[in-house]
Amino acid sequence: MKLTGAEILCESLTKLGVQHIFGYPGGAILPVYDALGKSKLHHILVRHEQGATHMADGYARATGGVGVAMATSGPGATNMVTGIATAMLDSSPVVCITGQVSSKLLGTDAFQEIDITGITMPITKHNVVVSRAEDVARTVREAFVIANTGRPGPVLVDITKDAQQASCEFDWEACAPRLPQKRLRNDHNQAEFDRALELLNTAKRPLILAGRGIMLSGAMRAFEQFVRTSNIPVAMTLLGIGCFPASDPMNLGMMGMHGEAWVNHAIQESDLLIAIGMRFDDRVTGDLRTYAKGARKIHIEIDRAEINKNVKVDAALVGDARQTLEKLIPHTANPDRGPWLAHIKELKGDSAVRDIQSLPDNGHLYAAHVINDLWKETRGEAIVVTDVGQHQMWEAQYYHHNQPRTLITSGGLGTMGFALPAAIGAKFAKPESEVWVVAGDGGFQMTMCELATIVQEKINIKIAIINNGFLGMVRQWQEFFYDKRYVATPLVAPDFAALANAFGIRGERITARGDVLPTIRSARESKETVLIDFRVEQEDSVYPMVPAGASLHEMIRRPNNPLVETASEP
């Protein structure tokens, strides 16, 4: 059967199981759009190509499948850069398809010609230019394999216009992926395995550091079994949240810069850290010279390049988390951890009683109230997609996630403007799930044009804006480290409720604590998107905080304000 390159692309995507494409058309990708119109693929017209990449990313994070974004050449492609980098830093499987000028024009500075594979080389797992219709199917199949095997990541496929237009024979069977065959490494050798077991079974104060790799590996069951057999408490990274129920007594909570004080102290006092699918980000370790000095370290990690990158480890088990855990479990002893667990409980007691709900209403509305109420009202079962900043950290502290892939957030790149588009992607991936956006008034303004996408697609998500009138997280740094010189952080925002109305979306504005729950409730009852503008305390800060570069145990604690060091027990 003879098809054009554009038709082959649509056929291939369909055969790969793709249902949704987030994109924006233009001259160099028009043949594909023409073919899209004749296919069964659902194209979601975004308002900015950055939004398309975040939507594909949100789609991927919600399901574990590949998300697909599409754009035209030149400005369409360059608008994708931030979204691609966001996916790269958090290992998210996204395939971006861009149109390119015709191959005979390549290198001539033709209209809207840009070297997008050159630009995205350092921020993609792989990228490739396709200039022949014959190569379209195989390349797209390879892109899907690369994006979602091993350590996932974004792949960009740049297709010249002539390759989209030319016709050739389409034979799906004949164009199976042909990727270079790599050597199988034998890093995961028996000696290393034995050393890990020895450390594991003799430790007195062990702690598990659980990361996003557990979710990427689909290792949740094996992980839980490992926790039970080894009886070792769990600390999570921001991106690890959800890999183990927050309600489990063995789950201590988040570590790191804005992690729980008791967790950071426990890390510093431990004698063994078992890091699983996490990459010792500097927001996690603080000053490396003082990080967990007394602890041996085991690293379970699929990517060899992560081993000994930031933290030198004593045993490295390179490989998939699930497979490795399943191999470890039968040999794992279950000693009495009574004294160590009791000690952690003590640390926790001294730290903070996260119980703002029982405090009397003093007329102030804090972000923590909003998140805590949202958690209670949704029983922790919603998919929450956050933006970047203070509200992101409060979400991590006060919303207790029990299910994997229910917190979707940009961790590594920390991309403001991520939440709204990523939530749209997540909703398409999980139409039956309740999806909430939690965003700051700053970040929301970066991509709020996607409200129009929501209306055009008639989807139902709920949007909570934590509106403090500042670029809050930066204001906090200015408060702590720049003597409260608030340069360029106070910001004006539109009346978000009225703005929502202008898009045809219901909008609410809340200023009193007592109105939070009822409004969340009524928003949930609606079958349509609702935006709620929560006007919260302007100069509240996130505590505890490990200043950048400080030791993990050197946390700035909430000054004598009983109101919040934080929320109720999960």
Partner: protein
């Protein structure tokens, strides 16, 4: 200084990917050579990088993550042979010529081009040897020089060969 050998797909852009990677890791490349292998689809690189053992590991592991890199190995700690090739154009008049020939002999170099005013000397060997020859040639007046950059090979039975046929379908677990 760390020495790595890599087998890569012989296609456009691969060199760019390798150098882009080193730049991203903030590792300075001292020399990078690429040459064909007996498989036309595969090229061999020797990379000498200004970094420590940790950087060498990071570079090796990151290189091997590139889809187009079939194998990357840090051979710095192994017993290895290294060669650099240099062409040196040096001033030579009637008077200095005999003296130059003497030196060339000592260094086991060769004269590959003779002109009225100059000679081109070809020399191969370790970097130290070539640096040594350059040192003694300088007083005569070195006009121009071209060096190939290092190629390296592990000694004896320690073999570094590309895995299997270059283009076979892949086990998914193979791509990191």
């Amino acid at each position: 200084m760390q020495t790595l050998v890599a087998y890569v797909e012989n296609k456009p852009g691969v060199l760019n990917r390798v150098s882009s990677l080193a730049r991203r890791l903030a590792i300075n490349i001292d020399s990078l050579t690429v040459g064909p292998t007996d498989n036309p689809q595969v090229a061999r690189m020797t990379i000498v990088a200004h970094t420590d053992e940790k950087g060498g590991h990071r570079l090796e592991a990151s290189l091997e993550k590139l889809v187009d890199v079939l194998l990357a190995e840090n051979i710095s700690e192994r017993s290895l042979l290294e060669r650099d090739l240099a062409l040196i154009k040096v001033l030579a008049d009637q008077q200095s010529r005999p003296h130059l020939m003497e030196l060339i002999k000592v260094f086991r170099a060769r004269v590959v081009d003779v002109a009225p005013e100059s000679l081109i000397i070809e020399v191969s060997g370790t970097v130290d040897k070539i640096d040594g020859l350059l040192e003694v040639l300088r007083p005569f007046g070195v006009l121009e020089m071209a060096r190939s950059g290092r190629i390296s090979m592990t000694r004896g039975g320690d073999l570094l060969r590309p895995p299997g046929a270059a283009m076979a379908s892949v086990e998914p677990a193979n791509v990191t």
